[in-house]
């Protein structure tokens, strides 16, 4: 329920609504899109990444000397959770052809394709199978399918959105395999939204030149991820799922190939060894590191564990200085602070307006540009609406969606959003949402080639953990696509590789070597990584937990 002073500002929004509706129906952009120069200017001045303290030099490892997101440097410059001497690597608990780490959509795709390519598969995950950011995606998945669209136009959009820093071979694979990925998902039983004639319903997203977003209402991520999960579970005789068992360190063989991982069982606290001919990291992103103190849209388990493990075995990171802030995170009520308000809202016509009900930015700029414009409107121009707990936001005028597309549109196309706000007595069909940028996505990650191989033999990566596909800014709907395209590629190539490789003696020596480097730069012994889980216990309680070690602090 909005507070009285917020109601006053909502009145301004209502006053300008009819005029803005007219603009929307005119077919012209409701606000001029920014030029190249204008984009650069707003990014430089207002994007959180461009602040000096947002990045610092990493002092050890493959990217030594590079400036990376500060919170990432903190987990790279840290000790291991394990004591290598404790482990009997001669007698691993499990042996498998392909080990997939992470059970979100990329991990599921990898597991299915590895199975289909004849490999024995083990799938280890931190929480339950399917617990992932993949499950939470709302807006959709891009694929150039309409007759007036093409993979070439999709390619241009991805490159432009990423400020032309993307690895072109990865982008080519992404856009080329998009239609096939949609078809594959549909044949597994994903219920994509359709037009009446059976063609796929497609909507525009920020930075796309054609309506290219395929959706499953606004449970798009869940619509795909739950089908993939079900498919993996149906293959239980061939895919061994290990839940509540996050990987905390990779194992190598004496020749330097990656040869499996150490898992840590969150419930019985045992460490488990998995020997694998090839290993796929699909552990997702880093939202729960709360970069620069931002709230996040991310899953509880999104702590970038895969980055740390891969870095320690010698894989390098790419664009790990770039963070995606989703323009529209919820700011009010406080219970849903930072929650995602899908870009599909703007795709369907919701307009961002300031406290006076004025338009100030084209609603579908690429995410970093849009987010920066929101920050400028609040911080520089003072046109935001403050909340009682000290946050600030701008209005996303959602009632317009029904006025543009007809009443009932929100209930049928945005049931998750409607439900989310209705739980706190806000009806988004009648009132706007208060939003502000929220930490959403890890643009960079572990560098891969188009076979999902890293610099280290035997190690593959897919999904949000990778870097290069999206350059320094990902467009809406390309993360879901990334999971499907590169998840499937990783599974296929890792399975093929597993057929021909022979492992030597297993070792954790690289952990000892890495820790020597950590010690040399004088890091405190209690700093360990991977983080595994964020810690939200208040300090005054923690002070009394004399003998307990929350995950993330345990040594």
């Amino acid at each position: 329920m909005y507070l009285d002073y917020m109601r006053e500002s909502i009145k301004n929004v209502e006053k300008t609504r009819a005029e803005r509706l007219k603009l929307a129906k005119s077919g012209k952009p409701i606000v001029e899109r920014m030029s190249d120069k204008e984009r650069e200017e707003v990014l430089n001045k207002f994007h959180p990444d461009y602040k000096e303290e947002s990045r610092k030099k990493v002092r050890i490892g493959p990217n030594k000397g590079d400036k990376l997101t500060s919170e990432v440097v903190d987990i790279l410059e840290a000790y291991s959770r394990v004591q290598p001497d404790y482990f009997d690597l001669e007698n691993p608990d499990y042996e498998t052809d392909v080990l997939v780490i992470g059970a979100g959509s990329a991990g599921f795709c990898a597991a299915i394709l590895a199975d289909e390519n004849g490999a024995d598969v083990t799938l280890a995950t931190k929480l339950r199978s399917g617990d992932s950011n993949s499950m939470m995606a709302q807006g959709g998945i891009q694929a150039a399918v309409r007759p007036d669209d093409s993979p070439y136009l999709h390619y241009l959009d991805v490159m432009g959105g990423g400020h032309f820093d993307n690895k072109s071979d990865l982008v080519r694979a992404l856009v080329s395999e998009a239609p096939g990925a949609i078809k594959w998902l549909q044949e597994l039983g994903v219920m994509f939204d359709r037009n009446e004639d059976g063609t796929m319903l497609t909507k525009p997203g920020g930075g796309t030149c054609r309506p290219r977003m395929h959706s499953a209402r606004d449970y798009s991520g869940a619509g795909m991820c739950r089908v993939l999960r079900d498919e993996v579970e149906n293959r239980a005789d061939r895919i061994n799922i290990l839940e509540h068992q996050p990987a905390v360190e990779l194992i190598k063989d004496e020749k330097g190939k990656v040869a499996g991982a150490i898992l840590y069982h969150l419930q019985n606290k045992c460490y488990i060894t998995v020997k694998a001919k090839s290993t796929i990291i699909a552990t997702g992103g880093f939202g729960r590191l709360h970069v620069q103190g931002f709230e996040t849209t991310n899953h509880y388990g999104a702590t970038a564990d895969g980055l740390v493990m891969a870095y320690r075995v010698g894989a390098n990171l790419m664009y790990m200085d770039s963070v995606q802030y989703h323009p529209t995170g919820a700011v009010f009520p406080p219970q849903i602070l930072g929650f995602l308000c899908t870009e599909k809202l703007r795709g369907l016509g919701a307009q961002p307006v300031n406290k006076n009900g004025e338009l100030f930015v084209y609603p579908l700029e690429p995410r970093d540009v849009e987010a920066s414009a929101f920050i400028r409107e609040c911080k520089e121009r003072g046109n935001g609406v403050a909340t009682p707990d000290g946050n600030v936001g701008i209005w996303l005028d959602t009632p317009l969606i029904e006025q543009i597309n007809g009443s009932g549109t929100i209930k049928s196309n945005l049931p998750a959003m409607l439900r989310q706000f209705d739980r706190f007595d806000i009806d988004i069909r009648k009132d706007p949402m208060l939003v502000y940028p929220t930490l959403h996505y890890q643009n960079g990650g572990i560098e891969i080639n188009d076979k999902c191989e890293t610099k280290v033999e035997g190690l593959y990566v897919a999904g949000e953990s990778t870097g290069g596909v999206h350059g320094r800014n990902r467009l809406m709907g390309n993360s879901q696509l990334d999971l499907m395209v590169f998840g499937r590629r990783a599974g296929k190539f890792a399975a093929e590789y597993a057929k021909s490789t022979k492992l030597g003696k297993l070792t954790l020596n690289h952990v000892n070597e890495y820790e020597k480097e950590v010690e040399k730069i004088g890091i405190d012994k209690d700093k360990i990584a991977p983080v595994v889980l964020p810690d939200y216990i208040p300090d005054k309680v923690k002070k009394k937990q004399y003998t307990a070690h929350p995950e993330g602090t345990l040594r």
């Binding site: 077919g27 190249d36 929480l127 617990d131 950011n133 499950m135 939470m136 399918v145 309409r146 993979p151 070439y152 241009l156 959009d157 432009g160 032309f164 072109s168 071979d169 856009v175 080329s176 395999e177 096939g180 949609i182 078809k183 549909q186 044949e187 597994l188 039983g189 994903v190 219920m191 994509f192 359709r194 004639d197 059976g198 063609t199 525009p204 030149c209 309506p211 991520g221 869940a222 739950r226 089908v227 079900d230 579970e233 149906n234 509540h244 419930q267 899953h299 406080p334 219970q335 995602l340 579908l364 707990d389 049931p415 998750a416 439900r419 989310q420 939200y536 216990i537 309680v541 923690k542």
Partner: protein, 228 residues
């Protein structure tokens, strides 16, 4: 959550804890000092990991909800349900048919529905669970897929069902059958997939990949934009 904020007392495993009144059950557990490793997931109502049973002060009713989406109330008793040991059928989606016989074979338990509507009342997503069970009994897969669409598979329906039905797993099968066999084929998609196999766009993409930075930038800013 500031220290000054109004507090309420909630009971976790029967023991009282004072927590901020604006907490959800999930943040209240953390405020009380529990670092969760089960009964927690996306924290935004999309994953179904945090199924919780609770009872409010002065009420005899056991209510069901998601810990991340339910605000605490003074005197609330809570217990989390971290896992539902529910039966799930194993099948090859390519080998089964989209008709009632599939449900008779894989989820015969559906036909024990007594129509009590307890499942619907337990659903934190406000899904008409009993209605989709009834639709499946009648072989209406489309209706079941549509009604169950917002299911996040928390399992509370199955936990509360006196007939031991596993509604959410049967609904998963219904949606997959509907998506694969009943939804209309998309002619545009099929055509584009064929074109990709034929390599229709390869030369265009070759050209794009070879563009230098300037040319690419120019082409990008010049591309025509359609929003409809």
């Amino acid at each position: 959550m500031s220290e000054k904020e109004k507090k309420v007392k909630i009971y976790i495993l029967g023991e009282g804890f004072d927590v901020p009144a604006s907490s959800t059950i999930l943040t209240a557990l953390e405020y009380a000092g529990f670092q969760l490793t089960t009964g927690v997931g996306c924290r935004e109502g999309f994953c179904g990991a945090c199924a919780t049973l609770y009872r409010e002060k002065g009420d005899y009713k056991l209510q069901a909800g998601l810990a991340c989406q339910t605000v605490v109330s003074d005197g609330m008793y809570i217990a989390q349900i971290p896992f539902v040991p529910a039966q799930k059928a194993m099948y090859d989606i390519n080998e089964i048919e989209a008709d009632i016989n599939t449900f008779k074979e894989y989820y015969p338990i559906l036909f024990r529905c007594v129509g009590c509507n307890t499942c619907t009342k337990a659903c934190p997503q406000d899904i008409e669970v009993m209605d989709y069970v009834q639709a499946l009994i009648k072989g209406d897969i489309e209706k079941a897929a549509d009604l169950s669409f917002d299911c996040i598979r928390c399992g509370l329906c199955a936990l509360r069902c006196p007939a031991e039905i596993v509604q959410y797993n049967a609904a998963m099968l219904a949606r997959r059958l509907y998506g694969k066999y009943i939804m209309p084929d998309s002619p545009d998609l099929n055509k584009r997939v064929e074109e990709m196999v034929e390599g229709k766009y390869e030369s265009e993409l070759d050209k794009a990949v070879q563009m230098d930075a300037e040319e690419l930038k120019e082409t990008y800013y010049k591309r025509d934009i359609k929003t409809e």
